[in-house]
């Protein structure tokens, strides 16, 4: 097995049925991701970033092409491809602990004892610094905290790939920065393979090993791939003045605002 085809998105395209002609959202999406790599998908809204993620998750079925994870084709959703949803998607009637428990029990029911399961849930909640609010309901904690729990729920499943759909998009800037730092720290520690959707350029450059920039839809595809060779651990304050960091930022910005202008902006002009 070649090291960098841990996850392979191969010639993927998708069409959605409509009343008239079927709508082609994606065409020829081709990407190989190595184990432990952090990849961001960036593009204007409506370009099909989420669709790519949903296909990898198995929530959508590709019209053509396939997703291959560890040499096996993905055919349905499963806990080996955990999804962090933009709006946390915690079950509001379960406490923080119970939300993680539901996921842990699905994955480890047969392999862990009752006691080990409890320890594992607590361990994962402490990874995201949420062990102090274990028995609160999602309504009783802030948006950032909910998203931490959403991440803990996914980490606790020990997925082969962690899929994040604009995980910090609904948060304020300070909370977002905190969570980005937490995520970097955890990913450094656990070596997760991550695909993250974002439309925040700074976030993409700061977190990623590679940034995949998508062209505008319909029939969206991958435009350019940018490798970010910044040493880890990365510090946002230091990097803010780093010429290399800014160079990467500029490359992404140039792609987004010169080569692939926002379709909405085009309409205005």
């Amino acid at each position: 097995m070649i090291e960098d085809s841990y996850l392979q998105i191969s010639q993927v395209g998708i069409e959605f049925p409509t009343d008239g002609e079927p709508f082609r959202a994606l065409q020829d999406v081709q990407l190989k991701i190595a184990k432990g790599e952090f990849v961001s998908l960036i593009g204007h809204s409506g370009c099909g970033k989420s669709t790519v993620l949903n296909i990898v998750a198995g929530l959508y079925k590709a019209t053509e092409g396939a997703v291959i994870l560890e040499e096996r084709e993905v055919s349905e959703p499963g806990p080996d491809r955990a999804v962090v949803f933009q709006n946390h998607a915690l079950l509001p009637w379960l406490s923080v602990y119970q939300n993680v428990e539901l996921a842990v029990k699905c994955v480890f029911k047969k392999t862990k004892t009752e006691h080990e399961i409890k320890d594992w849930i607590e361990h994962n909640l402490s990874l995201v610094h949420m062990d102090h609010a274990m028995h609160k309901l999602p309504n009783e904690i802030s948006g950032g905290m909910k998203q931490r729990v959403g991440i803990a729920r996914c980490l606790a499943m020990q997925p082969k790939v962690l899929l994040m759909d604009e995980p910090f998009g609904a948060l304020d800037a300070l909370t977002r920065a905190h969570l980005q730092d937490s995520l970097m720290e955890i990913q450094q520690q656990l070596g997760n393979t991550v695909i993250m959707i974002t439309h925040d350029v700074d976030e993409a450059v700061l977190l990623s090993d590679r940034i995949v920039m998508m062209t505008n839809g319909p029939a969206a595809s991958i435009g350019e791939v940018l490798s970010i060779d910044l040493p880890r651990p990365r510090d946002r304050v230091v990097l803010a003045e780093d010429p290399e960091f800014n160079n990467y930022r500029q490359q992404v910005l140039r792609f987004l605002y010169e080569k692939q202008r926002n379709p909405a902006a085009k309409a205005v002009a």
Binding site: A57, L59, P79, R81, A89, L91, C106
Partner: protein
Amino acid sequence: MSATSIMAKVSELRKLATLENFKLLIDNGIRAMALPVLGICMFLLLWQLVANNIVTSLGQFPGPTQVYEQSQNLVADHNRERNKEASFYERQEKRNAKKLEKNPDAKVKVRTYPGKATFFDQIVTSLITVAFGFLIATLVAVPLGIVCGLSESAYRCVNPIIQTFKPVSPLAWLPLVTMVVSALYVSEDPFFEKSFLTSAFTVALCCLWPTVVNTIVGVASIDRDLINVSRVLQLNAWVHIRKIVIPSAIPMIFTGLRLSLATGWMVLIAAEMLAQNPGLGKFIWDEFQNGSSHSLGRIMVAVLVIGIIGFALDRLMLALQRAVSWDKQAILR
């Protein structure tokens, strides 16, 4: 400004503040208590005025005062009947004790009191009947609603049937239910009266639909993200229903249940009249047939009692919903 004048100012402000509070308290008090009382008083007055001008073949239409008298009478009837019953058992016991004293091997007969049911017995019968019918309806409606909410195909199968039966009046069902119960429920020593089963099933048939329809809507409108969570976790159908479907559909299920119970309570009175189930419906029917000068007053008492019980049942369901619901902040009314 000197210190004393400041102090004076402060105390003056404080007085004003308490005065404001007091006003607010009165305002709230008026809104909470006085207005409903005012409404009721106006209604009673209007009722009395109108009643004075209606004369029927059974005498004057009862106003609030006559209705109050009749309610007192019904309570008195009830107490008299209970005393009679007690003395009946007392006499029976004494007689049997005497018999046994003479001859320890003598066979003693124990008879149950043959007196007629009082108004309060009839209320209890009605409540039991509606509870039984409502229970049957719930046991059918909630699972059916969940299945139809989860599966588009099941919904398409069942929807025409729901839409057809939903508007059917209880009176249309009753003859059919009566015949079916008579045909199928044959036993030497029946545990339930036939009239009880007929009324309860009629109630069930009519109060099924609001719960079915609301459960379907509740289940079909679960947040997509939560369904995706369930798919990623590969939850099996049973866990999916228990952990995700039912908690998110609970508010809608309860909306349905409350509508169902209200419908059931209305249907029950009609069903009892025709099925002769010894409840409030039969009470009204019997009083009507009786045709005494007190009848209309007594029927009016029953009407008010039916209304108050209906209201109480709805509050009961609301309390149950509060207890079951996970969202304690939700405003339920």
